[in-house]
């Protein structure tokens, strides 16, 4: 269903009638492609520089010639020799995966209550809950830090995962998806004697798959790159995530731009792959998130 909707969002642009005719529209097309290509190159250029720099010896990074005279793939291996980069990778993925799983579960449950159940005050409470998205992160950051101190959860996986496991945004996003499921399905299941948990788990969850995938991608990407919270929470090296590890690699290991760029490339690659694979869900999710904001 969502895939169809996705098709209409971008499909219509493709099938819309051609504006100009003949030579004029050809010129217009060429000019548009020119502008778009120029912009695409601007987007891409820093990444190209980063990849090329990651294969250069240090002294060549600082020269203007774009290509390395000799390619040095061993730069990548040297990153692993200098810092526990694999460990950082694992930590980032491990933490982001747990946060994603928990956030999808708690958000889906809340979204079920807001989208599929009838109760007094539902919409008022939903709007109030949504309004809390305006609270700036820095306001809660300091008290949450002191809370972690009291609970002795500084420098722990639990401290990194649990505070991020609840999301008003996720609830909102999944509610929008669940509202599109026809109510007759729940009614029929209720008549058959299904419990609410069964309706939620066996009917609504599978039908919300597209929404769950969208939220999962958002959450995973957001937490993979999360910076502020791990920065203040983590003290020991073996718990550092990629962004924190990168930060200290950049500041504490002297000037070795080529290795830092190699680390950056490795940091970014999973995100690029994830985006290319999942972009139709992501695009749809971003657009849906704003429709009824």
């Amino acid at each position: 269903m969502v895939e169809e909707a996705q098709g209409t969002v971008f499909g219509r642009a493709q099938t819309a009638p051609v504006g100009g005719r003949g030579r004029r529209s050809l010129v217009k097309g060429v000019l548009s492609h020119l502008a778009l290509t120029l912009m695409a190159l601007t987007s891409l250029a820093p990444f190209v520089w980063m990849v090329l720099a990651s294969f250069k010896p240090l002294e060549e990074v600082e020269q203007i010639n774009p290509l390395p005279t000799v390619w040095h793939p061993e730069n990548y291996a040297r990153v692993f020799e200098q810092i526990p980069f694999a460990r950082y990778y694992f930590n980032s993925v491990f933490i982001a995966a747990w946060v994603t799983f928990l956030q999808c579960l708690t958000s889906a449950m809340a979204a079920y209550a807001f989208a599929r159940l009838r109760w007094k005050g539902r919409d008022t409470i939903f709007r109030l809950y949504l309004a809390t998205l305006m609270i700036p992160g820095v306001v809660t950051m300091i008290p949450n830090y002191t809370l972690m101190v009291w609970l002795h959860l500084l420098d722990s996986y639990i401290g990194l995962i649990v505070p991020a496991a609840f999301s008003a945004f996720g609830t909102f996003l999944l509610r929008q998806f669940m509202l599109t499921i026809p109510p007759s399905l729940d009614e029929a299941a209720k008549i058959d004697g299904a419990s609410h948990w069964q309706i939620f788990w066996d009917i609504i969850m599978p039908l919300s798959r597209a929404g769950l995938i969208t939220l999962a991608i958002f959450t995973f990407m957001g937490n993979y790159g999360s910076f502020f919270w791990p920065l203040i929470l983590i003290k020991s090296d073996h718990l550092r995530t990629l962004p924190i590890g990168m930060l200290y690699f950049d500041t504490n290991y002297g000037r070795q731009t080529n290795l830092i760029m190699a680390a950056s490339v490795m940091n970014i690659i999973p995100l690029v792959i994830l985006f290319v694979v999942s972009q139709r869900f992501l695009v749809r999710g971003i657009q849906l998130g704003a429709v009824k904001g």
Partner: protein, 323 residues
């Protein structure tokens, strides 16, 4: 997992609360509670280093804040860094308009434009720090090469090392002078910000909104003899108003809280504090100087500013938007 007992229709409130429980407990513990806690703490002199005895000081922090020149300078920095916002939004709209035509390779363009915002974060900021390096970075290498080729004697900017800026703001005092005019650290961050944002979420939102503009309206206007610009101004732009409104509100909320990563990763808040934003100031007060009470007060002022700005946006923006 345990199975919840089925209930009769109309009696769903208890069930609803059970389903809301995990989320609301988390919200209470990690959001609502902390918000109140930070408000309470902002009336104290609480310092984690325990060099000063704990004391309730009423509005002391807030009074001190009003006389804190740094606070005002960093507030101005925060606003200055938001100057890129209208450029980025207009750029997103322009790209979306280009992409909404019937062209080949739309998905490829879209992917490339989106790349910076999907990878944004520490890795990207470390990359830009290298790009901006005044002596070895490729940006200045290009500027120097071009200026040499043209026989100009342009001095390339010092970027992240310079306090210069396009408004000529003075360092460490709220004043303007021509000596400060130029390109510096703040402008570098703005340029990077535009590069990240222009092809990101806002462009996707505009793209969706553009495909939803009723084709009949555009054709009707064209039949009435309206030119391209007139069609855009009188048909497309008003139809995009809800999207623009949403984007502006979100940009303000994000911009007022922004600048932390850039400051922590790229500049350390410098040179001379010129890239320290309110969020970074709160961070340094709380986690480097351990003045939890004072930092909480700043964060509440920031909260209040965001709240007021959002209200103003609603008051004036909602009029433009016809649902």
């Amino acid at each position: 997992m345990s199975v919840l007992p089925a209930r009769k229709a109309g009696d769903e409130r208890a069930i609803a609360w059970l389903f809301l429980l995990p989320n609301f407990v988390g919200f209470g513990v990690f959001t609502a509670g902390p918000v109140l806690f930070s408000l309470v703490v902002s009336f104290s002199n609480w310092n984690l280093q325990r060099t000063v005895p704990f004391q309730w000081i009423g509005f002391g922090n807030y009074v001190e804040l009003m006389h804190d020149t740094q606070f005002w300078l960093y507030f101005i920095n925060t606003l200055y860094l938001m100057l890129g916002m209208p450029v980025a939004i207009a750029g997103s709209l322009a790209l979306a308009i280009l992409l909404s035509q019937r062209l080949r390779g739309i998905v490829v363009y879209r992917t490339l434009f989106y790349l910076p915002s999907i990878t944004s974060g520490v890795a990207l900021m470390i990359l830009w720090k290298a790009l901006y390096n005044p002596d070895f970075g490729p940006i200045n290498a290009m500027i120097n090469a071009v200026s040499e080729a043209l026989g100009l004697k342009v001095k390339a900017p010092e970027w992240l090392l310079s306090t210069a800026n396009l408004l000529g703001l003075e360092v460490e005092q709220v004043r303007v002078s021509m000596k400060q005019f130029g390109l510096g650290a703040r402008d570098a961050l703005i340029i990077m910000g535009i590069w990240i944002a222009i092809g990101g979420n806002n462009m996707l939102l505009y793209l969706a909104a553009l495909t939803n503009v009723p084709q009949e309206l555009i054709e009707a206007a064209q039949l009435d003899g309206a030119g391209k610009w007139a069609v855009f101004r009188n048909v497309t732009w008003p139809q995009l108003a809800p999207t623009t409104f949403f984007i502006v509100v979100m940009s303000f909320i994000g911009g007022l809280q922004g600048g932390f990563e850039q400051a922590r990763v790229m500049t350390g808040g410098g040179p001379a504090g010129t890239t320290t934003t309110l969020t970074y100031y709160i961070y340094t007060k709380a986690f480097e100087e351990f003045q939890i009470g004072y930092a909480s007060a700043i964060s509440w002022i920031l909260f209040a500013i965001i709240f007021v700005v959002t209200l103003i946006n609603w008051k004036f923006g909602a009029k433009e938007v016809s649902y």
